[in-house]
Subunit: 244 residues, 6 copies
């Protein structure tokens, strides 16, 4: 099974790490294909950046869809997820979506723990977009400074553990989601120190993508998008729109 | 990995079929353990029956929890699911819950297709209980008569296909869930005839239970239930409550 | 008029007290019949315990329904209420339900005051189950310790008064509900010290049950539950299910 | 116990009938005091009329509050209810409110049956105002013509029964509320012909008002309205506002 | 274009100030006609007062509707707005409504800043009545004392600026609405000191009323109110109801 | 006042028509600047197309922002609206948003009338995105065929009038919004034939944009987006992101 791990940020090191973390939980016979955006910003933290990243995501899937069984939107916040699902035949799973839906089977309510206040609005939007507000216990962010999104999970690990336990105490959250691609792989390190199950979004996304393929994919999804000529996009994306 | 398939109905043939269907999607190394209620009714179709089945479910898991990695509530409607999740350390997944959450990754809205109007209220309650009303496109039920819940999926197969396609046309549903244990295994037979992805709840439940175990289970779930003496239950269930 | 006061806990002293308190508000000609669970725990404080208590409730009503005009679920949280309403012909009223609906006629929003944090989740579930979240101003619980649920209302009476007034100040709640069977009878003692109307749930339940009987009961409620054979229950409960 | 039955319409014959119907369910020692608006329209059927009726209601209660234990807003739609509750110390109950809250204890969802399409919007507003939309199965109105609101319940009795049963069939409503003062007293005549419990709003209002008085009234309701001089109202109403 | 500025309070100085402030944003050719209540209180601060003011509003518009192109309900809280819209043919705009809808185009969420805690409930009701709860970031009120509603905006100007900036920081509100007629004209003075766009409700109302007239008004609004005789009102209001 | 009319479709004739229609309602001194997408499709009708159009919109505003007082997203569905609002300092108004908010001041509920079923999902998403579901009476679409989006409003004018009146009758909608850029200018032609006020979205958008500028714009909007380097975009867009 061939699953695209599509990072709509331009930071390839982040893609590589997500693939490495995903490989620790993937089943036998699964291949994770790393794909990184050529256009965009190094790390999405706002709605304008998410919008541009979503457009880039469509282009990236269009270029690599051939031979793939599923695709993962490898940015927490799921830019472009629903548009990709409407445009392509293969299952497409969002990291935030997969984390939240998996968390729903571990308890009534989940909290997000992340590392930067600038993400707060975009992540809250994402919960609402999925209609999961009733299961959401809020976003918890330590005030700690850090040098780089590539090392933030080690730099402020103790602050993240502390705020996670505070989230559990203050909100009766049953599950903690470590939100944001820069935290990929952190869950397995800190789980023993946190008083509730901890979900790693890239792991959830890999498992959920595998599951959708095993359940039969979505080849017979009803297409509601009429084919249409497009101007100014890559040949692959234009072809996807034309053949919609 | 050892997963309990706990049918809180008394019909063992139904349990056996669900296990057989689940085995078609389970991963290597997974064992599905069939468990059938000793007390109860042959097929749950109302809230009073679901309440009694939920109590029986707690007893059945308490008796078989030892050595199990996860448990599936093998009745659509998920009787006793949240109580079981609060009482036991292993992951517990509901068939309806797993089907609905999986469907959420295949499209915006899912419809239920089932075989008897007496299930309508209980199933609608179940959607609301999971907070997924915004993703729900309604319940569709053919008017066809049938002789037995054990054979209903063959008896009225054409009616079920017809109503499923009607549900898609009338509601813009993106996904169809074939709801009810008696429809286990039907999805793979009818998928090519239905204009949207079709979810088989027992298959979704097996995959989701495997996923939760792979993601680390929930051993560190915060326990909020104080230990307590109980009177009149089986030793296993009393012990679970006492050790809560 | 004969009203069953069905306590699905095993503590008969609590049943007796609720009946005594209910007698202070009941109308002439009303008889309150105390019934206490034989199976279960001494005081319900979690979802698993509530599920088991709900099953016991159905059995208790089935055994005593003959000659009764109505039944009260005499545990705040209303375990088994909706299932009982579906199974039996007489009106069935929940203590939490009656308290909340009565409070709705005294002001826009009600707060719960109770004595133990372990009840918080179950009580919040109960508000949601009744669809009254928009009228709910939250649960307020003092941090005071106490020795026994039988004496808690006297042990921490001052703490309960203080937290009730804090709830009113902080939330603009218009009404206070003293939640939990152990607080039965407290309202009349503390009302003069609290700056908003105070509702005693057992009093509300007795009055509401009387009202439903006076309004004509629900003999012609539409039965949606088909009769069915059941295995392993008491003869009375099996008969109720069989005759459903 | 002295309960004001305040009809904010100008039709005294309607007030008298509501009092007569209420007397069939009131307890011993209760007195129902008929009060009819001097200003207004003969039958409220729109928001402007309801607004004017609500203002008149405040004046009527202010004039008759002395010596009363409770007041009923004797117009389905409850004009002025919440304002009256804020202004006066005695319990105030709305006919629609009492009917809906009583119905909530008889089943999950209630339908309104009424006699004129012009009432539809105002009645739907009323459900929303009370936050009970989740329990509402809709408004059902026969297309039959009638000569007078004073005789409509006899003129189209068969049409009302037919539409009530259609409402039950089409919506799975558990309870029918016969909405509108002109239908007062109809419930007892048609209940045997309708396949669900039928609530008569004036009967529910009388019982609920009695209950609130028995539970202790609301003398200690927290007053949030500062006293204030008013110009142009009756002395009684000006005094109520001044003493707020 | 002739727009009525109808103040349902009795304080003419407030009407005059609102007209003066509105004139600073109105377009060329617009005339603002000040109208002040003869009956009522000097400043509305509760639901009973709002109800009475709403009735007065209908009378005032009925008396002055002739020759007017639109009317503004010149009291934050919008007493009588929806009833006026149902009764009259010209566009009617509420100050709170216009401020909130305008704010929705400046950001995701708006906060209210006002000067007195007694307004809190009535203003919160108003947000809910307009169905805008999801866009609402709460009400912020300084604890400062003041001598008169006519001078409050100058007396506590620094406290209002401080609390506005606190509201932005604490809630991530994108827009601040200076709520309440006594704050008319304050926005232009304090905007440079507040870290988000500030909306002045009377300015928003004037612009929105002009816009509705430019867009064609609502002459062909579907009338659902049947004409009806009314007793006890002014000839103008009786005529409006009669000609409904 | 200089307002950008940014059409994120590639059809310049549509932009020109929207500008011409907008000029019929704009105030003196307003200039409407037509801008048409270079990349994209000729008419957006799905989520993937809307996503790509939203990205193009950001680029177009970045290129033309200099000297502009406000921008209109000139495609019903408002692609990119909220991202543009976060990125740029000038007011940005969506055609759908402006139409819906204006309609909220004309009645309780609005219906959409449009010309193609493929738009249904995207338009429904748009209502939800603005949090206005409670005011929405649904989308009404005639089954009529048409040759071109440029002439559709004339080709099926009678069908559109008929379905608009059906929408009013069936749903009690108070206002009709003629949804979709191809219907720009139709409102003034058909208003006399439709039994409720009719809103033309481009007219509403022009008026609302003018109003926001008159109210002071949003220069002091709190910026939550940190500046950031971007790769692969136009210099203007990169600069907007860098200077965010």
């Amino acid at each position: 099974m061939r699953i695209l791990v599509v990072n709509p940020n331009t930071t390839q090191a982040m893609t590589d790490r997500m693939v490495a973390v995903g490989q620790t939980v993937m089943g036998p016979g699964t291949e994770l294909v790393p794909i990184t955006a050529a256009r965009g910003v190094n790390y999405i933290a706002s709605r304008p950046e998410a919008l541009l990243a979503g457009a880039e995501l469509l282009d990236l899937i269009a270029r690599h869809e051939n031979g793939a069984d599923a695709a993962i939107v490898a940015a927490f916040g799921d830019p472009g997820l629903k548009a990709a699902r409407d445009l392509f035949d293969i299952p497409v799973v969002g990291m935030a979506e997969a984390a939240m839906l998996s968390a729903c089977m571990l308890g009534d309510r989940f909290a997000f723990v992340t590392f930067s206040h600038t993400l707060e609005r975009w992540y809250a939007d994402c919960v609402a977009k999925h209609g999961l507000g009733a299961r959401f216990a809020g976003i918890y962010i330590p005030d700690a400074e850090f040098a780089s999104v590539l090392t933030v999970q080690d730099e402020i690990i103790d602050d993240l553990v502390t705020i996670a336990n505070e989230a559990i105490d203050r909100t009766n959250a049953d599950v903690v989601i470590l939100a944001g691609a820069p935290l990929a792989g952190l869950a397995s390190k800190v789980a023993p120190r946190i008083g509730a199950p901890v979900v790693d979004p890239i792991c959830a996304a890999v498992c959920q993508a595998e599951m959708l393929v095993r359940l039969g994919g979505r080849d017979n999804a009803s297409k509601t998008i009429p084919a249409k000529d497009a101007v100014g996009f890559s040949p692959a994306l234009s072809k996807a729109i034309a053949g919609g």
